[in-house]
Symmetry: C2
Subunit: 331 residues, 2 copies
């Protein structure tokens, strides 16, 4: 068997690679380990709960409306720490470059990393650089790993019947921004990636309300994230289509391309399950933050299983886990 | 300006890339940061000293005598944690694959990672997989980041006049094993990589003696490591050529190829500066460990600067910092 693009697309096929890693003897260092397949691991260090996570970034193009590979490589890892309830402290950076890569582009990328790190007051403390001969890599790949400390650990499996499902803003922006930019569509400059670091916003929410479960809808989009949350939590989720915030430009592109905005990656959004009594406070806290202005309650959690969309037309359909992400190299 | 292979070769040219990272606003999270350019960072977490480090691995061939890219990706990061005095706890793995990569090869590689992790009782707790389209990557790249806890932090800048320089075994094995394997030389099967995880050995030494400075001589080999240690410590190092352990097969290959075994990467060795009074105990502890059987005292630290080789023939020459590593993609 050979590795296919779907093995890296965030959907079900990727499970075949994950299963190889799960055969490793030790996948847990005392807290939450690889076997949980959550956004990051948790490890007790002395009297603290350390969150540890990693992501590699290979997005194309390197520079797109709203961001670039540098910003995404910082935000992706900060957000994975944040999704576990962690306050990120430091990142590592493993850089792989192709011989001939423009030094000025690298400088722009690192400058962009700096800006994203500074937004959340996170340090880049350690790194590594490798250069491959011409042709051995398409330009650049950036890995970051991140550590943070969590007072309250939030899992992706904690949805409870009665919870409201909140998203922190419009869905599909990043996937369509990358796609539009890559294909040079007419509407390319109207769709801006949402790539942003969310730990400040999430930490401010955690101060005022309870979050039962949380995940960032990256590869595979909202459809993948909400199905994973529902399945792990052993609950059903009902989504109200008319409440789902989607930009009109994204909706137009989605109709033109026949790609569901709920199945493409977001890089600056969070999906939360929030108890009814905390919902208004959480929503208010989200909306008061620059990255949560379009936050909305889009559904509810009930007993049962599966994710159902109550459509604007009055019908119902399942939101399925996508096999992958329809946009290759989206992050 | 364009990125050249030398930007990833571990020598002085790499400084141009490192300088870009050093412009980042926050490179230190309260302990030892990127600006120290040591083997890893140290971050105070509660009442503990956390060591945090990363390496990406792109070695060719993927399988070589004595190891493979899986083993090296685990050992490289475990050893960087170990070199800071840290006891490694957990690793992350960021995997990038080329479409079409053989699933069985991936399975072998992950199995090899498991064996190396198990040797040191380290967990692989979090990961990420990306797949690039055919032609966008030469087969596979593996990033690992690692965390550990240090009771005693060891720096690479702590050499003191009067210290003895100890190496934990023969030098040049990994670089020549990779080179010989790649070029299919006649002697290819006689040179075995030393790739090994060293934290157990280093921790056992720390229990019985003092280490003033420590570094693993990876890219750029011993010549690069000892020069960095001497320069950062503000001391001179004198090496006695006849004491430097080099396997006869490595010596033969080195003469044939005109490559200095002191300038190629080791992946299972450590260079230490040890006070005179601790030297015998440290040497004994090293030699009692499977990865330190050939440990030797090869030099001394004095006031001054630079690294001098006292040759077997009775002369003296400087050991210079190599511009890079003569073996591309050695790790």
């Amino acid at each position: 068997m050979k590795i296919s693009l779907m093995h890296g697309a965030g959907g079900e096929v990727m499970g075949e690679v994950i299963d190889l890693f799960l055969k490793i003897s030790n996948t847990n260092a005392g807290g939450i380990g690889l076997e949980s397949l959550d956004d990051g691991a948790v490890i007790p260090i002395g009297n603290k709960q350390l969150v540890f996570t990693t992501d590699s970034h290979v997005v194309r193009p390197l520079f797109f409306p709203g961001g670039d590979i540098g910003r995404i490589s910082v935000c992706g890892t900060i957000n994975d720490v944040a999704m576990m309830g962690g306050k990120p402290i430091a990142l590592s950076c493993g850089l792989i470059l192709e011989e001939g890569f423009e030094f000025d582009d690298l400088s722009r990328i690192i400058d962009s990393m700096d800006k994203a790190l500074s937004e959340e007051n996170v340090s880049l403390v350690t790194g590594d650089t490798k250069v491959l001969e011409k042709g051995a890599l398409d330009k650049i790949a950036i890995n970051t790993a991140g550590i943070g400390v969590a007072d309250t650990i939030i899992r992706d499996n904690g949805l409870m019947p009665g919870d409201n499902i909140i998203v922190s803003g419009t869905l599909g922006d990043h996937g369509f921004a990358v796609l539009a930019s890559r294909e040079e569509f007419d509407f390319a400059d109207q769709i801006i990636s949402d790539v942003a670091p969310l730990s400040g916003m999430v930490q401010s929410v955690l101060k005022i309300g309870k979050i039962n479960a949380m995940k960032d809808p990256t590869r595979g989009g909202f459809a993948s994230a909400i199905n994973e949350m529902a399945k792990k939590s052993g609950v059903m989720v009902r989504i109200h289509e008319e409440e789902v915030p989607i930009r009109s430009s994204v909706r137009a592109a989605s109709q033109l391309l026949g790609i569901d905005p709920l199945e493409v990656a977001n890089e600056g959004k969070v999906v939360m399950g929030v108890p009814a009594e905390d919902t208004e406070a959480v929503l208010k806290a989200l909306r008061s933050h620059r990255y949560g202005r379009d936050a909305a309650i889009i559904g509810t959690v009930t007993k049962g299983k599966g994710v159902i969309m109550e459509t604007t037309a009055g019908g119902e359909r399942f939101i399925e886990t996508p096999i992958g992400d329809p946009v290759p190299r989206v992050c």
